[in-house]
């Protein structure tokens, strides 16, 4: 499913409108974790990450793991520096008011699966 369609279906707020390359990207896989080493080890390339962590290192991890997008759950918002870094790295950032469990559930219902599905 295309990232822009996911954002619309889940009612996500986009934080990185300057990152345009990903909106057409087809998102097939996702990962949810707040442990960044765990994200590095297991997040699927080209996938989406759902996390509560909103600091700068999330962008480094997302970039190294070659993720297309990060969804911050629980209405947690990163500061401008983090958004700026994401713009520079080409990682799309979104915020959802829903908590992690609900965000993942909705993603799953849209056909975005985990590593072992």
């Amino acid at each position: 499913m295309k990232l822009e369609d996911i954002a619309r279906e889940l009612g996500l707020t986009e934080l990185t409108p300057k990152v345009t390359g990903n909106s057409e990207a087809d998102i097939e896989r996702g990962y949810a974790s707040d442990l960044l080493s765990d994200v590095l080890a297991h997040a699927p390339e080209g996938g989406v990450l759902v996390t509560l962590q909103v600091h700068l290192n999330v962008i480094a991890v997302a970039s190294h793991a070659e993720l297309a997008a990060v969804i911050f759950a629980g209405d947690r918002r990163p500061d401008d520096e983090v958004c700026g870094k994401a713009n520079a790295e080409g990682v799309s950032l979104f915020v959802s008011p829903a908590d992690t469990f609900d965000v993942v559930g909705r993603l799953y219902a849209l056909g975005v699966k985990g590593n072992h599905a």
Binding site: L35, S37, A41, Q53, L56, N57, V58, A60, S63
Partner: protein, 522 residues
């Protein structure tokens, strides 16, 4: 060759990632394959974060040579008191600040191990820690999928007989101007060329300092070595091996038994597609990753018997007597903190044979072995490269039914059949079967530290458009060659020479059957 250096500040969570990000740009610029870049970045980032979280600061140095990235991360302390403990997933001493940011889950070093091809960690309390890892890059398309190899080449011994060309199951050997060479992106680290090479130009790399016994040293041996000394009983051989100056001699056979049990358990749970293929032989695992990537899901995700034994021996000073290159490669790729070396069976035989002869002179002993039947239902044991290839083809084509698990060995007769052992495979196996019940030792099986990774093997070019053009050239070259597979050009088949020509490793004029006019057209 390119050398890069980055300083890393203690506690600088914001700046962390700068070194690994810059390294990534360099690797992309030289055209390293994307999977290697991703693995390199994850490993470098984890190493960088370790310096930020745990140390007084340090430095990351990276060297990019044509085929490999070597990264050295050295910090200024405080050092790790128990390195093996730090290597275990889930162990962490991180601060609450680091944990609040989502680090310090005890996954750093295991993550580095999983993503690198070689890792070594050394530490001195009060002094600092050094984390060194390597990742095989091989930027040129032709060398993608290269792995570390333990095949040694002594070119001066080559007699130009070219028996190795036909022996190699993956057409990885070339002999040009009486100089054997190996295309490492195709090599699976087996023993086929070694067995075919009478003069010993192709062999197994040995420890540079030979056999070094130590008061605390362990000698780890294959059962084929214990059963490989004529009519000397296994117990006697064990005793004389200890007599060389080792504190302990252990055999890998119980780990082979445990792996077999675990594979059969896996087959019974139907967690993997049938038949489950045992990871007993690292050369077959490599062959599957290269030539049968569709069968990778069939592979039991378990460490080989030697790797499992190495885990149990932990930090002890161990000399492993390995009977093939693939075992050596597997051992050196794991247990990054241990004192370990590998030696060839020849070295050990030469040391222990005089002792056995002296013992025989002093007091004769004659064992009377009675081979016993061993076997397990639902288990298909396949040995020898041609049989292994045939069975893997059958599995791939879905023609092998009713078999729950397969235990494949690249050498004829299993590990007993390695050309690097002195005794004939059948004789040693028969003698071992008689002694195995009473041979001491215990074993276990372990999950693998690194995931299986299919290798692209022959990929003409990473750019698909270029690859398609080269494919057309390859077709034309193949048609221009006589198809006699004579080996005179130094490639095992005409198809292999055609590929060498297209990839720039050879010219058509090497073929004695192509007339000069045609040759000059290439």
């Amino acid at each position: 060759m390119e050398h890069l250096t980055y300083d890393i500040q203690s506690g600088d969570f914001g700046g962390a990632g700068a070194a690994s990000r810059d390294l990534k740009q360099h690797l992309k610029r030289i055209g390293a394959e994307s999977d290697a870049v991703r693995r390199a970045m994850i490993a470098a980032y984890e190493a960088e974060m370790n310096v930020v979280i745990h140390t007084e600061g340090g430095r990351l140095e990276a060297t990019v040579s044509d085929g490999q990235l070597d990264v050295d991360v050295v910090d200024r302390g405080p050092g790790i008191p128990d390195v093996p403990q730090a290597m275990r997933e889930g162990f962490s001493t991180a601060s609450s600040e680091a944990r609040a940011l989502g680090f310090g889950a005890g996954m750093g070093l295991p993550n580095i191990e999983r993503n690198s091809d070689r890792l070594r960690v050394t530490s001195a309390v009060g002094d600092g820690t050094r984390v060194s890892f390597s990742i095989i890059l091989r930027p040129e398309a032709a060398d993608q999928g290269a792995r570390p190899s333990s095949l040694g080449i002594a070119a001066e011994l080559c007699r130009d007989c070219r028996h190795c060309l036909a022996a190699c199951p993956t057409a990885a050997v070339r002999v040009r101007e009486a100089q054997p060479s190996v295309l490492y992106h195709l090599c699976v680290d087996c023993t086929c060329c070694i067995a075919a090479c009478d003069p010993g130009a192709l062999t197994l790399l040995d420890a540079p300092d030979g056999l070094v016994p130590g008061a605390d040293g362990v000698l780890a041996v294959p059962p084929a070595l214990l059963a490989g000394f004529g009519d000397h009983a296994v117990d006697t051989v064990l005793e004389e091996l200890r007599g060389l100056g080792f504190a302990e001699v252990v055999s890998v056979h119980r780990y082979e038994d445990e792996l077999r049990r675990s594979v059969l358990d896996l087959a019974a749970t139907s967690a993997l597609p049938a038949p489950v293929i045992s990871s007993v032989c690292p050369a077959v695992v490599s062959l599957i990753e290269l030539k049968f990537p569709s069968l990778v899901p069939h592979l039991a995700p378990l460490a080989s018997p030697w790797e499992a034994l190495q885990r149990d021996l932990g930090e002890r000073d161990v000399t492993y007597v390995v009977s093939c290159p693939s075992q050596r490669t597997a051992l050196l790729a794991q247990q990054p903190t241990a004192q370990r070396r590998t030696v060839t069976p020849r070295l050990v035989r030469e040391a222990v044979l005089p002792r056995l002869a002296a013992r025989r002179r002093a007091a004769g002993e004659t064992p009377a072995p009675q081979p016993q039947a061993a076997g397990a239902d639902d288990l298909l044991v396949v040995t020898g490269v041609s049989h292994v290839l045939a069975v893997l083809e059958q599995i791939e084509d879905g023609r092998l039914t009713g078999v729950a698990s397969v235990e494949p060995f690249i050498c004829d007769g299993g590990c007993f059949g390695s050309p690097l052992l002195g005794e004939d495979a059948y004789v040693a196996a028969w003698r071992w079967a008689a002694a195995a019940g009473s041979a001491p030792g215990e074993g276990r099986s372990y999950e693998r530290a690194r995931p299986y990774r299919p290798r692209p093997g022959i990929r003409l070019d990473p750019d698909m458009a270029v690859a398609i053009r080269k494919l057309a050239e390859l077709d034309a070259e193949t048609k221009a060659l006589p198809g006699r597979d004579c080996g005179v050009c130094g490639a095992p088949t005409c198809a292999a020479l055609a590929e060498d020509i297209v990839m720039g490793r050879a010219v058509r004029a090497l073929c004695p059957y192509v007339t000069p006019e045609e040759g000059s057209a290439s």
